[in-house]
């Protein structure tokens, strides 16, 4: 039968050099062989060079004393700490600026992107100028400009600009502001906040189920915010409401007490956020423009309020267009935070750079950089891919 023989047509006999399968394998083996040869050549050169320069390879240097100062640390660190600790400080600093940068630039970028679509001509033009101005100039230039402005235009600590009744001080050494004195209750407030997260997640599930069975909506968002703020506040009150603050005070040539945001950190964060939000704005704008006008009209015809139609109809669809390019912007922020080295913020690359100069262990250190950035990048993309799958259109 003709139909059956189609699927099981006997393979035509061809000469081995014309067989695509054999050709494919030969080609692959040749390419892999060439790449392997190149790798072997580089590795053997490297080994020879290392032996000649008497550099011992291996990661033992990580346990030695680092001996250099780091200006801005989130964990305890002194020059007597090990190289491993110095690199860990750098990783934490990178993560801090990346996480804050992602949050703030999403917020600012969304506002500007929506602003560009505003019916108000002036507002949409201003947002357009913002995007063009920040997109077309290198990030590094913005970082230099902000850093120089902070360190040269702001006065020294003795003439610091005081704001809010002498509680916040702006100077070229950074922004000083008061913080609550350390108190054991803070730990319990953190625990209460975690409990609040779990609680509001359960509340959201219960609310959704109730709406599905009875049709009664439940104000999940405001209730969750209430729980997240209320629980820690209750714990704080129960602990006797400790309200001692540590105030920044001028002592000698600098401030003591309170806490400080370093100028390097400020310049880096401001530069990253302003630069990236220009790109985020374009993504958000094109995501909203990609929606058919009928969607908002249909939502209005169903009697949804403006907020409901945005939250339930428009945003979920726009997000499908927005999330993939947004992922690459988040990766860009993380990678661009490495520009910190140019203005002296001690991020991962800066720590590694000093370590290379002091120990000469170039290969090991470059491996650490690559491993660190790859694992951060891969975790961001894994999370965003998971999120993208969650909001993707379910086609049947």
């Amino acid at each position: 039968m003709a139909v059956e023989s189609l699927g099981s047509a006997p393979r035509v006999k061809v000469a081995p050099w014309n067989d695509p399968v054999i050709r494919g394998w030969v080609f692959q083996i040749v390419v892999v062989g060439l790449v392997g040869f190149l790798a072997w050549y580089l590795v053997s050169n490297t080994i020879e060079n290392l032996q000649r320069q008497k550099i011992a390879s291996g990661f033992h240097y990580l346990e030695r004393e680092a001996g250099f100062e780091i200006g801005d640390t989130m964990i305890e660190y002194s020059p007597a700490s090990t190289y491993a600790r110095a690199i860990w400080v750098g990783i934490l600093n990178t993560l801090r600026v990346a996480v804050l940068g992602i949050l703030l630039s999403t917020l600012l970028g969304t506002m500007i992107g929506v602003g560009r679509l505003s019916p108000n001509w002036l507002l949409s033009r201003i947002c357009g100028w913002y995007v063009e101005a920040f997109r077309n100039v290198p990030l590094l230039l913005w970082l230099f400009l902000f850093y120089k402005l902070i360190s040269e235009a702001f006065p020294g600590p003795r003439q610091a600009i005081s704001l809010l009744w002498n509680s916040v001080f702006l100077s070229n050494r950074g922004v000083y502001f008061p913080v609550p004195m350390a108190d054991p209750i803070h730990k319990w407030m953190g625990v209460a906040f975690l409990v609040g997260i779990v609680g509001s997640w359960m509340l959201a599930r219960w609310g959704r189920k109730r709406q599905e069975t009875t049709g009664q909506p439940f104000p999940i968002i405001s209730a969750s915010i209430g729980i997240l703020i209320g629980l820690p506040a209750l714990v704080w009150l129960a602990g006797g409401a400790p309200h001692h603050m540590s105030w920044p005070e001028l002592k000698g040539f600098n401030f003591a007490g309170g806490t400080v945001i370093q100028p390097e950190f400020t310049a880096l964060l401001v530069g990253l956020v302003l630069y990236t939000s220009a790109f985020v704005a374009e993504i958000v704008r094109s995501g909203i423009l990609a929606l058919h006008k009928g969607q908002s009209e249909a939502a209005a015809a169903l009697g949804l309020s403006r907020g409901q139609s945005m939250r339930l109809v428009l945003l979920p669809q726009a997000l499908r267009v927005i999330v993939p390019p947004m992922t690459s912007q988040y990766l860009n922020i993380t990678k661009n935070s490495s520009l910190a080295i140019a203005i002296g913020y001690p991020d991962l690359v800066a720590s590694i750079n000093v370590t290379i100069n002091q120990t000469g262990q170039a290969i090991e250190n470059i491996l650490i950089i690559m491993a660190a950035y790859l694992s951060v990048s891969l975790s961001i993309s894994a999370f965003m891919n998971w999120y993208n799958k969650r909001i993707a259109l379910r086609e049947r």
Binding site: Q28, I29, E48, A133, L140, L141, K335, N336, I366, I369
Partner: protein, 426 residues
Amino acid sequence: MTDLPVGERKPLAPPVDDSGLVGWARRNLFSSWGNGITTVVLFAAIGWVVSWFVEWAILTANFTASTGAECRGYGACWALIREKLRLIFFGTYPYEQQWRPLLAVVAMLAMLIATSDRRMWRPWRLLAIWSVGSFVTFLLMFGQLHIPLSLFLFAALVIGLGGLAFRRQVGSAGEVNAYRALVAIGVIGIGLRFAGILPAWKLGIAPFSFVETGQWGGLPVTMILATYGLVFAFPYGILLALGRRSNLPLIKGLCVGFIELIRGVPLISLLIMASVMLPLFLPTGVTFDKFLRAQVAVILFAGAYIAEIIRGGLQSLPKGQFEAADAMGLNYFQKTTLIILPQALRVVIPPLINTFIGFFKDTSLVLIIGIFDFLNTANQALVDPAWAGYPGEVYLFAAFVYFVFCYSMSRYSKHLEIELNKGTRR
């Protein structure tokens, strides 16, 4: 509503005038109460910022001071830019020779502008523009070029192979024989050169004094790094993209691994790698120019990004194109170069220009390994103690130059996107 008799009906109010300036303002600025308030507040804010800027940058600015101290008490100190203009644009290039980088910048601009004209998008025309343009640029920058014989042999081999690949079935017998002759010359010549029979002959062109890359700086460095970074990354990005879409598992794995590795790490780490690790990779005694090392890092980096853009173009082609090419009996090479790539590359030209804008900005990172690109020479202008204290002016000026380049390229890319889509738009 009860219907009143015609005589007692009230006339309707006339429609709101929405023509002319007043109508336009009513529609776009004061369409509602909230909009009106926004407009007024924004107008006030813009007026305040603009008047402050005009006063600082023009009215009270100093254009003629001879030291930074004379600028005190004035607004912007543009005299600093005037004084340091040549340092910012050309860095430490020998002072009396700086007409050469100037002409090199003009040559590169001419080359880029010629390339942006769609009538030039023919292989031979592009080859002519780029070989003449590159020759002029590097001759001016170096002052002297010593082109080894093997480069000519290699060029003959590549041109001959390219001609054979594309013109064997369609070219006249004479043309095809010419390509065969070129390939033969190339193969035999390179073979003889390797065997040591042909001498290491070099074509020396030396009209000017030699300037090494360590002395280059400013705008030409930024332009060379970005332009040649992209030019060399382009073919290798195409290969990576094709490899990533290949059916052969080992090739695909290699390409995916390489692309994701490069895209996962910041450019700075590649630049640091190029400056500290590349010397370790090479055999003892072989050294590499620092500028060339940075250029290699930029090419490696750009290739991975270009590969992803080209992959997008390949994916946008309908399956029928691949199947039709197979049905015509074309082999992989013919299918790719005659059917797939011409269509895929057409789609990706606008995003490629956007990538070029990105690289034009990202080359500023090379200052971290001590190369004097445009941003770094701008930084050098701030070092002079006689002119200390005016970083804003210098960075604004540098930002303006970058803006002019990037903005015009992004307008061109938008324009091209519309032009190229004319066939598919309704």
